[in-house]
């Protein structure tokens, strides 16, 4: 498996430099705008999986390199596993980089300590696995152009919901309640006190989500003809 990760890293090394650049800009932006801890955790858990799943797949699609990857002496199962492990190693590398960066430059020490709490790490783990569970299969199935169209569609949907929520004056329309329900669940997780049971729950749910991602992506990848 190590040779697979080495292969993925070598093949996408130009992407890694861009990735490092983004991370620096991201952390400077967090520090400069002093975004609250929770908000930055949410952003981080969305940006990292998006970058890993989308950019590596985009390069593979651009150069039609999957014929090369699939012709190597391995089967498709290991290829998907390698892609998942590489994505996770990149996410953790970025996370650790973030910690170092905020340790060095962040003014308020509370920010760093909050990050190092096991609860926030596990929440980050769960959120990233959820985003990855959505993104990796989506990218394998629809490709990078699918992801871009998807993001633009989300943007347009967001604007339309915003417009509708504004115009319909009554407060309790379904859209607004739907938005509020999402925000509440995230708040519930963030505020919950870090009892061991809760932490284990977080860990196992993250593990379950990742297993689902692996199985579903492998199912989709196996069905593709190159």
């Amino acid at each position: 498996m190590l040779k697979h990760i080495r292969r993925e890293l070598i093949f996408n090394q130009t992407q890694l430099y861009i990735f490092a650049g983004y991370m620096i800009v991201f952390w400077i932006w967090i520090d400069w705008q002093d975004i609250p801890f929770r908000m930055s955790l949410l952003f981080l858990s969305f940006v990292l999986p998006l970058f890993c799943a989308a950019s590596i797949q985009a390069r593979e699609e651009k150069f039609k390199a999957w014929t090369l990857n699939c012709s190597l002496p391995t089967n498709r199962k290991t290829l998907v596993l390698a892609r998942l492990i590489t994505s996770w190693s990149l996410i953790f590398a970025a996370f650790v980089f973030g910690l170092l960066f905020s340790a060095l430059f962040q003014e308020n020490p509370a920010f760093l300590s909050q990050f190092l709490e096991p609860k926030s790490i596990l929440i980050f783990l769960l959120l990233s696995s959820l985003f990855l569970a959505f993104l990796l299969p989506f990218v394998i199935r629809f490709g990078i152009s699918g992801v871009i169209i998807g993001l633009v569609a989300l943007q347009v949907l967001g604007v339309i919901t915003l417009l509708l929520a504004q115009t319909s004056s009554n407060k309790d329309n379904i859209l607004r309640s739907f938005l509020h329900s999402i925000i509440n669940t995230v708040k519930f997780f963030l505020d919950h006190d870090p009892t061991p049971g809760f932490l284990l729950l977080l860990f196992f749910s993250a593990a379950a989500v990742n297993i689902f991602t692996f199985k579903f992506s492998q199912f989709l990848f196996a069905r593709r003809d190159f």
Binding site: R7, I10, F63, P73, T74
Partner: protein, 288 residues
């Protein structure tokens, strides 16, 4: 006779094209040429052996083993050269090779470097800077450096100039000296085939029309040019296709010797080149 690749009634349906019950065998230690019109299924067939395209039904055995169960083991003994280059174009050649090398247990770095400078390929150059011919040479280098027993090539010679092609074929025949190696390559240039192939398989819109040795084809097959009425009067042994022309009728037969015995004196018989055979098999009207 041991076979490197055995394909048994392989079937694959696409929207506009189906590969119908393809069965043929590639004997070990020989070169098999795969010819057929554009879109006849040559590339699909090669990709199915490499399990890049999944089969609907049928079985493929490589070195006697099923190509799905033992996928990794088989692929470590297969060298591949595709007509559309599939490498990351912005990487240097030595980077590409170093990423691929650990996958092959029998990777031989000295052989790789020897081949690279024999083909004058600079290791530090980026893949996209190479010309079409050099890209083909690089994939061949990779395919040959891990002592592959089976080499699959999809139109390796298209777009290369004749001198370069001769070099490539010379390199290939040099590999074939070692009895163990088998080569399957698809091409459009029949003169290359006549120069190097031992077996020829002709595929036409998803069906194998024939698969036999080159000398058998060039020896036994022939074209008869005769008057229009010949067809009605006699049935020609081994007749495959016929085509009406303004001078009379041209018949392709797979058994020229027997046919000659019953022909009227005014008819002319000629040897059939691969190109003529392809022309008749896809354009001529069928018989039997």
């Amino acid at each position: 006779m041991e076979y490197a690749v055995e394909i048994e009634n392989l079937r694959k349906e696409f929207k506009g094209f189906t590969l119908k019950d393809v069965s043929f065998r590639i004997p070990k230690g020989y070169v098999m040429g795969l010819i057929g019109p554009n879109g006849a299924g040559k590339t699909t067939l090669i990709k199915m052996i490499m399990n890049l395209i999944r089969k609907n039904s049928g079985r493929i055995f490589v070195f006697g083993k099923d190509h799905i169960q033992h996928e990794a083991e088989i692929k470590s003994q297969i060298g591949f050269v595709y007509d559309v280059p599939c490498f990351y174009e912005d990487l240097k050649l030595k980077k590409l090779a170093s990423a691929i090398a650990p996958f092959y247990p029998k990777w031989n770095q000295e052989l790789f470097l020897k081949l690279m400078n024999e083909f004058e390929l600079p290791l530090g150059k980026k893949f996209k800077k190479l010309s079409h011919g050099m890209k083909m040479k690089f994939s061949l280098c990779l395919a040959l450096s891990h002592d592959a027993d089976l080499i699959l090539m999809d139109e390796p010679t298209s777009g290369l100039d004749p001198v370069f092609r001769q070099e490539l074929l010379a390199q290939l025949s040099q590999i074939m000296l070692d009895e163990e190696k088998t080569v399957l390559f698809s091409t459009h240039i029949t003169s290359d085939l006549e120069r190097i192939a031992d077996y020829i398989t002709f595929i036409n819109n998803g069906e194998i029309l024939f698969s036999s040795t080159l000398d058998d084809i060039l020896g036994k097959w022939g074209i008869i040019k005769a008057g229009k009425d010949l067809l009605e009067k006699k049935d020609i042994p081994g007749i495959m296709r016929s085509q009406k022309t303004e001078y009379g009728i041209e018949i392709l037969t797979s058994n020229i010797k027997k046919a000659q015995t019953i022909l009227p004196p005014d008819s002319i018989t000629e040897k059939a080149s691969l190109e003529d055979i392809m022309y008749f098999m896809s354009k001529g009207d069928k018989h039997a």
